[in-house]
Symmetry: C2
Amino acid sequence: MLAIAYAPERQETPTRHTPHTASDGLVKRPFEGLDGGAVRVVNAKDHVFREGDPASHVYIVEAGHLCIYRVLPDGRRQVMDFAYPGDIVGLGAIEAHGTNAQATERTRVRCFTLGDLREKAHDNGAFCMALYSAMSQELVAARELVVTVGHRTATEKVASFLLALSRRNARRGTSPNELVLPMTRSDIADFLGLTIETVSRTFTKFRHDGVIDLEQCVLVTIRDPRKLADLAGGTASGKWNA
Amino acid sequence: MLAIAYAPERQETPTRHTPHTASDGLVKRPFEGLDGGAVRVVNAKDHVFREGDPASHVYIVEAGHLCIYRVLPDGRRQVMDFAYPGDIVGLGAIEAHGTNAQATERTRVRCFTLGDLREKAHDNGAFCMALYSAMSQELVAARELVVTVGHRTATEKVASFLLALSRRNARRGTSPNELVLPMTRSDIADFLGLTIETVSRTFTKFRHDGVIDLEQCVLVTIRDPRKLADLAGGTASGKWNA
DNA sequence: CGAAGGTTTGACATTAGTCAACTCCGGTGG
DNA sequence: CCACCGGAGTTGACTAATGTCAAACCTTCG
């Protein structure tokens, strides 16, 4: 059965109003409950799957990182997500994949056929729930990304991106203020709906303002998390704030 | 069981590359297989549920339209979707709703508790598949919206919005060239990540260019579908085209 | 050492946002 | 019945943010 149980069932109260506080993109959590499966290693820039490929498997990242993206007919690219170790990718495709999954570096994934999944789901309610939850998280992440690319300034976009990475680190027990960026500026730009120049300039601005340190383009140290949060929040952009 | 079966299971071929052609936003299809449930009528501007409400029900729109949106702490608003009759809303929330669902006009919905859903899913594989498919469509729609707000110009955004409505009409058997907009300019602007002024100007431009007719701000007639598609596609924006 | 790819920086162009005025329409009440 | 009012939409002038183009700079890798 599809595990959508457990939420309390009461009538909606049409009164209260609880706007969400700034949730981060990249909200996904490690996917638990799947083991076995075939290991596959993909080199940097190789694809685990591409748009249009039959959706035969889902994958769990074991080491390395994947860049999940779509390309438009004219070549523009939108990065949808970055998959970290523990993340499950490929869920939600019905017949064919609607995205590409490219390794940003040499990456190891574990592959599970949809048959595996179905079988496991058949006799394991908790696993079902985990699957449902994973899809929900994808949806939440996608919606968060919509908000980011649609309604935030370049400063806010980059700041909230860094904060999201920081929170992900925190959840995984690594230092929240030492970020290693496993993706290129181009990936970041295409994720946030900016150009690489704007991303680069924004990083530089943050560095000059003492918010971050930057080494070798890839190692970010957050010096002033408080200020970074301000920059991400929207009150700091100069427009928008009441 | 969770119905994620039926896709052919073969090894990925890492060679082929099939970029998607312009898929539209608002891809969702009427949800089949649920009947019964309590009827609820909400007046224009009233909410079916709000951010933070416990996720107790899902809803199927029977008449009228809903505007699904999120608000940021500082008041900015991102419209995520417009729900039409036959659409299911509220799926994907785990504990609490992450979005608001507001009626753009007097609207009738049918309410189902998650218990209803679970029960039905328990002994009906096809229904399970429908649920999974509905969530996948939400995800696809959210991703399409990311592409639209992230990488398209104002012209492209409005054009693809109109095209999406047109296709939706076509799928539902109504005229693809006679669109009734059940939402305000403000809703459209917050959907596309634009201001109402820009939306208005773009409509005006389309009208002057003979692409559409516009009556009473609410009735759009597509006069030149071909050109509208061009405008939406990206090749017509003046930048981006190789 | 040289080439290639990624990154940074600068000067400039352009898009879309901002602010403000005006119009249009529907509803309400004298 | 008509005048007024308010909300939504339109239009215009101006501004600011971000994209564009071009060049220089680093690293890495052969």
